[in-house]
Symmetry: C2
Subunit: 416 residues, 2 copies
């Protein structure tokens, strides 16, 4: 009894001398793409080679002219830039947009620290805590983090592997709209499914947001990654939705420059831009060195993209074929981005992905996957799915597929 | 009548088809350091030279070895880094801290996009919307932006120009503590006042946060900028406050590299760090190129800082003397950072600062100041004060002072 009461005192004391973390902090999700990193680090310490299929980190070199611009920069003092980014860069970026029929000028662009900051500025500027956004699931998992940060609630509408993760019927989406609904978020081409929204689907979304007075946030960082002759239809191409549309962009994938942390928030809604600008001013400026890379990269010739398209098409074909040849695996053919959301014959992909790092090896190699549960908002969904990023060269990708095939045979929790 | 009712219809229609921006967005303050930028741009278009005393953008070159590390980087693909920053950089940074008696290891450091992101992660991790933080005013104006973003309320305790902006009596500060109070934010050496907190003051704050179970956020990005033989006493040096203290740091000023956007969040409170890490993962990683600069800069020899101290001491002396020689101007002697908050004999420094850009010139030159009202939380305070950053070389600073002296004589709203 005495010990118990002493313990209670200690506990009380411990609580008193330790300030508590925030509720928001408690509800922040761990990144499903990054939460397994400690297991990967442990495996690497053991000398194991890991094929990273978990993260959209392409192995394609950053364009040489962009790296040269950085290497030859005359800059002596790395100064703050304009809070919206260098004007020269924004003017050139506006030109890039006009070339793809997106009619914006440099005042309608704010350069951000990656697409991440762009979506955060967008949400913060447009939505109040407690407001709702509708998002087709599975969705880019970090939207969870950004909406928790902004105090906004994600209302998912589920897309299905059976029809390749197409946009769910608009009627289903419309049923979810209530007075708290303030926006819709899409990612097109889609991360994590690789689905490319059709012009009709995007225009349908345009009709909904106009009808219900909502914002349409569109994350189009994979715009250049469309395969099989398909073309990209941007939300910025929707007629008459200029006040509703907020575009999130990034050069991370386009120029294989994830680490520069350069993105952009683009909108013709001047009130949104003026508001986002206040958030931009508070953090002073986007990375100056990344802007050098970003501005120079705009001169990259079309060949760069043609080669990239060929390369990724080859990788995709290799992966899709390998996966669909594995017993019990289902992989729809992605038409854009460089991801597929794949169904695996296992009990729980969280467990399987951890097991791959902790308990499995083949020739001292293994594979890292992103369990799909973190890409769903509906509890329990995605437990048999993973996101695979086909960002490795074909040789590595082939070896990764061999590893995965073998692992699926050995995994104690397999379901076939 | 018909016209009026038509207009009303149009207005109603306009409201209907335009989604509204957020309340948070509306209450975001404009940066007092940057809000005059459009007037400066206009003046520059007219060919006018502007001495920028408004922004803490030093003219000292970024260390050459750091720029060379960037120029010679073997990196071919600019990849994401670890969400907490490169381990090699964090390990070396921990060594830097240990050299100044701050006992942390690399797991107690998260590299951030500038000090801005560090303070945002700190606030988000530790405070709930509606919670209060006590901040001695005048304070770094962007704290307003960060607290609005986090939904937190700043409760100011006013420091006075009469005693050089020293920490107000602890009793005054303690009176403000209520159940909603969760933390205290200080900036030491102080931006915007240049005040350097004494060991006693910092230890008093330590006692308060321990007694009342609060977080103590300390922004120490000007740590190396202490003059007249004074040394810096960090909150990390307080005994027994390890769970309370959250350090915000940045290399922007230390290595004159504001544009690299590299800062750090440092704490021995593992729960705070684990929580901040989730925010860090959501935005993927801090800028990779900036980390190259940051890591190399740690090898800068002590000479760099000695020369910088000499240089800034000279600039400060020049500025303080010039200002105090102007009729009606009061400038306390700052002992740290590179700012002074200065009282001017004018009706309203917001108007005066705008007038300097729009209506004044001397040999086609003028001066840009940061009106101090934006550095105060108490309405109406700071209307006669400005923040001056002495970040220009002595020749320019001298010319800027001449400009200012003349302008004070010509300004229609002068009070002497």
């Amino acid at each position: 009894m005495e010990i118990l009461s002493l313990q209670r005192n200690n506990n009380t004391k411990k609580q008193n001398i330790m300030p508590q973390i925030s509720e928001k902090g408690k509800s922040m999700p761990q990144s499903p793409i990054r939460k397994l990193v400690p297991y990967a680090e442990e495996a690497k310490r053991k000398g194991r080679k890991i094929y990273h299929l978990n993260i959209g980190q392409p192995d394609i070199p950053t364009p040489e002219n962009a790296m040269n611009a950085l290497r030859n920069t005359p800059v002596k003092v790395v100064e703050y830039s304009h809070s919206a980014g260098n004007e020269s860069y924004r003017r050139k970026l506006a030109e890039y947009y006009r070339n793809i029929d997106i009619n914006v000028d440099h005042t309608e662009i704010i350069i951000t620290a990656g697409g991440s900051e762009a979506i955060l500025f967008g949400l913060m500027s447009c939505l109040n805590p407690g407001d709702e956004v509708i998002v087709p699931e599975p969705f880019y998992a970090n939207y969870n983090g950004f909406t928790v940060t902004a105090g906004v609630k994600i209302v998912p509408v589920t897309s299905c592997i059976e029809n390749g993760f197409a946009l769910p019927p608009v009627a289903e989406l419309e049923k979810l709209i209530n007075p708290k609904t303030k926006g819709i978020i899409i990612c097109n081409p889609n991360n994590p499914t690789g689905y490319l929204y059709s012009r009709e689907e995007v225009e349908q979304l345009g009709e909904i947001v106009k009808k219900h007075d909502l914002y349409l946030f569109s994350d189009e960082v994979y715009r250049e990654f469309c395969y099989d002759g398909n073309t990209h239809f941007s939300v910025m191409h929707i007629k008459g939705a200029e006040e509703n549309v907020v575009l999130v962009d990034s050069i991370s994938k386009r120029y294989s420059a994830c680490g520069v942390r350069i993105g952009a928030l683009v909108s013709k809604n001047s009130e949104v831009m003026a508001t986002a600008m206040k958030f931009a001013q508070a953090r002073l400026s986007p990375p100056s060195l990344g802007q050098i890379v970003g501005e120079a990269a705009l001169d990259v010739p079309q060949d760069y993209f043609n080669e990239m398209e060929d390369e990724y098409t080859g990788r995709r074909n290799l992966m899709v074929e390998a996966l669909n040849n594995m017993e019990g695996v289902v992989c729809p053919v992605p038409r854009g981005a460089f991801y597929a959301t794949v169904k695996l014959p296992v009990d729980d992909t969280d467990k399987f992905s951890q097991w791959l790092l902790s308990d499995f090896e083949h020739n001292n190699e293994t594979v890292m996957l992103a369990p799909a549960s973190g890409f769903y908002s509906t509890p329990g969904y995605g437990k048999q799915e993973v996101r695979i990023a086909y960002v490795l060269n074909k040789d590595d990708l082939k070896k990764a597929m061999e590893c995965l095939e073998l692992a699926l045979k050995k995994y104690p929790g397999r379901t076939v």
